[in-house]
Symmetry: C2
Subunit: 455 residues, 2 copies
């Protein structure tokens, strides 16, 4: 790649579409016409049809859906009061995958722990027969640092509590807001631990409980969760290609996930990523030249509760994994990208310098860390596919993430457009690079579910 002249057509990719903010328009259609896209619901089915139409309209070819395992789970009615002793109805929502409470709900005393370690250190007789409340506070950070630790408490807390004999487990919502909207998210029941009901309290309600317990009050809770168990169903990944020219057998993959939680309309998580990916591809497909390598958009199924889409893609495409020269995922909302992260082996390459040089005018720095990919890409990472990360600003993302407030109104038209430009530039450069770097990620860590926000 010639660094003395700007790569061809970048100026067009960097042109803001002020008259028609297309990424936002796509997102509006997804949120308004389809709505929430929880696996195996009507919304999920509608989304798979919507995505195929959108990729076709964007000029992609070979658009199709591929089956992916998905998790069936139904939230049902949910309610909770704290007896402080005055009765305060609180906002909470079940964690994804939770079992429900017994008929008639649970009434029990609440015991608080500041960490899984503190819970693990408790005597079982302190915990047995009570509802465990885990008070872990997530900080507000541009790079999402703190989400890993907080989501580990959410995911693992219920089984840790169950091992001590707790009847149910409540967690402080994993989020950074101060609104009465609880943040859902997956839990992981450990094999061998009893499965107990688990839910997240909205942050103000969690803080109210925390203050009461800190004052030494005995607090009881009345909890009813109507959620029901998890057989496995089917959903679909949606794929589309911009076929490459002389290196058309090689693939640059741009992913996002099409599924969403049920509470909002999945505008930021991950409707924004879908809109970014589709519109970035449309911008590339409408350039006067084809990319040398094939650009593939994959909108994954079922990221939120089981990662069935990522596993299905890696399994179906294992034979061509070596031809995936780079994979990127847009799953950090609408935030403006602020850093580029590449595989360690690529950091000193001319390609990395070219990527950075082209992205720097958008305010994007070169991150010294190693690229991690996204949850959906993790199974590809295990097959040696190298990741390129555009780290987006998530300062506000965790105010809305996994809540009823994850709706179109909280998406920035300006920021989503900037993110679209950055992804289109990165994908275009990767698809046209002189060098190839397939396999450079071999042996490096790939993202786990808990890593997603810390990329």
């Amino acid at each position: 790649m010639n660094l003395s002249a700007p790569p061809p057509h970048l100026d067009r990719l960097l042109q803001p579409a002020t008259a028609h903010p297309r990424a936002w328009d796509l997102l509006r259609s997804l949120c308004d016409d389809v709505g929430a896209r929880f696996p195996c619901t009507e919304g999920d089915v509608a989304a798979v049809a919507w995505a195929q139409e959108a990729l076709g309209l964007a000029g992609l070819e070979r658009v199709h859906a591929e089956p992916a395992e998905a998790t069936l789970w139904h939230r049902g009615a949910e309610s909770c009061s704290l007896l402080l002793p005055r009765q305060q109805s609180v906002a909470l929502t079940a964690l994804g995958g939770s079992v429900g409470t017994p008929e008639g709900g649970i009434e029990a005393e609440v015991i608080e722990f500041a960490s899984l370690e503190a819970l693990d250190a408790a005597r079982p007789e302190e915990v047995a027969g009570k509802v465990v409340y885990l008070h872990h506070v997530m900080p507000r950070m541009r790079d999402g640092t703190g989400y890993n630790a907080a989501s580990a408490v959410r995911m693992r807390g219920p089984s840790h509590a169950a091992r001590k004999g707790a009847l149910a487990c409540l967690v402080r919502s994993v989020g950074t807001d101060s609104w009465r909207a609880a943040h859902t998210g997956a839990l992981w029941y450990h094999a061998g631990a009893p499965q107990i009901p688990a839910a997240a309290l909205a942050i103000p309600d969690a803080e109210l409980l925390h203050r009461a317990l800190a004052e030494g009050k005995r607090v009881r809770t009345v909890l009813a969760l109507g959620c029901s168990p998890m057989p496995v169903g089917m959903s679909a990944n949606v794929l589309g290609d911009i076929p490459g020219t002389d290196l058309g057998g090689e693939i640059v993959l741009l992913g996002a996930h099409l599924d969403s939680w049920d509470l909002g309309t999945g505008a930021l998580d991950d409707g924004a990523g879908c809109a970014i990916a589709i519109e970035a591809a449309r911008r590339i497909a409408s350039l006067p030249a084809r990319p040398r390598r094939t650009v593939r958009v994959v909108l994954f199924a079922n990221e939120e509760l089981g990662s069935g889409g990522g596993r299905a893609y890696a399994s179906a495409h294992a034979a061509e994994a070596g031809r995936h020269v780079a994979a990127l995922e847009a799953d950090q909302g609408d935030g403006k990208p602020w850093a580029l992260r590449v595989p360690a082996a690529m950091r000193e390459s001319a390609l990395a310098r070219a990527l950075h040089a082209s992205l720097a005018p958008l305010g994007i720095e070169l991150d010294p860390g190693v690229s991690r990919g996204g949850v959906d890409l993790a199974p590809l990472g295990h097959l040696g596919v190298p990741f390129v990360d555009l780290r987006q600003d998530v300062t506000r993302y965790f105010d809305f993430h996994h809540t009823a407030n994850d709706v179109l109104d909280n998406v920035s038209r300006v920021e989503i457009e900037e993110a679209t430009m950055a992804f289109s530039v990165a994908v275009w450069l990767l698809a046209n690079a002189e060098e190839s770097f397939s396999g450079v990620n071999q042996g490096e860590g790939t993202a786990t579910r808990a890593d997603i926000a810390a990329r």
Copy 2:
């Protein structure tokens, strides 16, 4: 008043209580220990006891409760879906005082109007049998401009819709946020119009409906409101005095309202005002000198739905109305005060200059407009009591106002302390002024319910 030397003890009133942010501590106790204070509920009864204890602890004398009429109304269960045609469950809440829907709810087509005027101009056959949706957008302004116009649509809309034969009336929430929390608030049924159910949609849900209708879609709604009618009950105003010295027969009244809506814990509306009033009075009561005039704190009952507290106070104290030389109300949340407003006849007085000179270091300007008081003070205004307004910054207030998000977590410890200082300074100066200005407000406008935010 000698303007060349600072008035006595002002330095102490302006000392921030950093070690113990007492206004916030009071508010925490009110929100946590009492919670919501909707008239004629357990919370209301607890609040009346709490307020008497708090005024006593603050050093006020003659602390007692006086009966006030209050409105009984019960929200009940509420639910609403839009059929876009895809079904979207939306966040809404009944307007205070609304009748419920018939057993089984209402299902009907939605018709939108941008204003009461547009609704009034519609042909009845366009509206009859439908649910009217009123789309009025409130702007975000430091001084709350726009709340009057928006709340007029909320209050009057249901009867305007009923006169055209509508089955129910929905309004866009009167607020400035983008969260899935609907803003309740009182409605006024007009005599002679049928009483139809009325509710506010959360702003993102209102915008979703608006977009669908703007695209020409036919949208139906399924609406169930379990609210029940309004007999009249009893609550109480809570009063306490700091008796004055040589002019002790004259009264400077500092008011706030003790009741709140049921959805949050009334932290900003008007727990903050109660905390400001009590703590401002405590600061004055703990000075080494008594005020010349009596300082009276009144925590009014039932501001939100009927204004029974304000009417009861004016009625019980009509004989001493002429001895009320000034009345102030704190009912604008925790916001930092930015302007002082006095009666027109007082604007050129030495007292107004002294007030302004003492408040200017807090960043408070002299507003050229005429003081309006608050909703609770309006009946006193009709008796000629002059108002002094401290206009607080309400830029963020209407994000939370009348919603489930009106909780302690959304109150600023810094701002509520600044507001407390400003009110204590204004009250202290008024209570010690050389001049008196009783009656200067005669014939000037007093606040109506709809004026509250525009003071």
